[in-house]
């Protein structure tokens, strides 16, 4: 146990810092550091905004089509009465058939 703790201590103290983005810390001055920061934010947000925009547009278009065709259904409308004799399919069949 003591040996393991000693090894862990040596490894822990001997390890150097690992940066998530090594490039960002190689900036020579403030302008370059700011450029790294800005472009990181930009490239992170760009795909999220683009894909989010398309998803929003598709959802809005879908609602618009629903409204145009009057196909918006409420849960109450989805409850449909089926006569047991004429019903087909496993769910429509009366129990015991």
């Amino acid at each position: 146990m003591g040996m393991k703790a000693a090894v862990a201590l040596v490894v822990g103290l001997g390890a150097s810092t690992a940066y998530a983005c090594p490039v960002c810390f190689s900036a020579k001055d403030e302008a370059q550091r700011q450029a790294f920061f800005d472009t990181t934010i930009f490239l992170t947000l760009l795909p999220l905004v683009l894909i989010g925009g398309v998803i929003y547009w598709v959802a809005r278009r879908s609602r618009q089509l629903d409204a145009e065709s009057g196909a918006v259904t409420t849960p109450a409308q989805r409850v449909t009465a089926v006569d047991p004799e004429s019903a087909s399919g496993s769910l429509g069949r009366a129990p015991g058939r």
Partner: protein
């Protein structure tokens, strides 16, 4: 209550027996909801535009980093300055072409024949932009700005050149749409697809102008 309420786990449907009737409580989506929200061509061009925007985003980011790390200033010494004020003219032409194309689609919805003139004007404005860019490039080449003269030149011809290639491709597609319109063979989804491509070219340009020219 006396009624049984068996649950069918596989289909997600549930039936309720009451007063001699079986009630179906369907959790399935109604068939009417399974429809196309947009034509395939529109979805296709949107995916293409998103990919291209990411591509240009990478180029702009690289340009920003290189520009910020230029020790001797930007543009580098001995390299010509980009003609920002002259380029404002073709920037205006390109932006106006976007509005004219929007107007063309509005007219098309009323009558296909009404869209002919605005579509032609949008195309001519786009052609003016491309030709003006070509003239500008010729002048810059004479002044010594080439693809290999500096990182300034390399980025300029890469970013602005790729945008010009997209502008030429979009112009060709606009021309294709125009010829179909003349034959009364253009459908709305085709016009919208072309429109999105052109808006991409138009909308990207002010960002490139701001980052590269200013």
């Amino acid at each position: 209550m006396g009624g049984t309420e068996p649950e069918d786990g596989e289909t997600g449907e549930r039936r309720v027996e009451a007063t001699g009737k079986i009630l179906h409580l369907s959790r399935k989506m109604p068939a009417a909801r399974r429809r196309q929200v947009a034509p395939n061509s529109v979805i296709g061009i949107l995916i293409f535009v998103i990919a291209e925007l990411m591509f240009f985003g990478g180029l702009i980011s690289a340009h920003t980093i290189v520009k910020s790390s230029a020790i001797a200033g930007w543009p580098p010494p001995g390299q010509p300055r980009l003609p920002a004020s002259e380029t404002l003219i073709n920037t205006a032409a390109l932006i106006i072409s976007g509005f004219v194309l929007y107007y063309a689609r509005r007219r098309y919805v009323q009558s296909a024949a009404l869209a002919r003139r605005p579509l032609l004007i949008a195309m001519l404005l786009g052609a003016f932009f491309v030709i003006f860019q070509g003239v500008e490039w010729a002048a810059l080449l004479r002044e010594g700005l080439t693809l290999t003269s500096s990182t300034h030149g390399g980025f300029f011809y890469l970013i602005i050149g790729l945008h010009a290639l997209h502008a030429i491709a979009a112009l060709l597609v606009l021309f294709w749409a125009y010829t179909r319109l003349l034959r009364n063979d253009l459908v709305l989804s085709q016009l919208v697809t072309v429109e999105i491509f052109w808006y991409f070219v138009v909308g990207l340009w002010p960002i490139l102008y701001w980052r590269v020219y200013l």
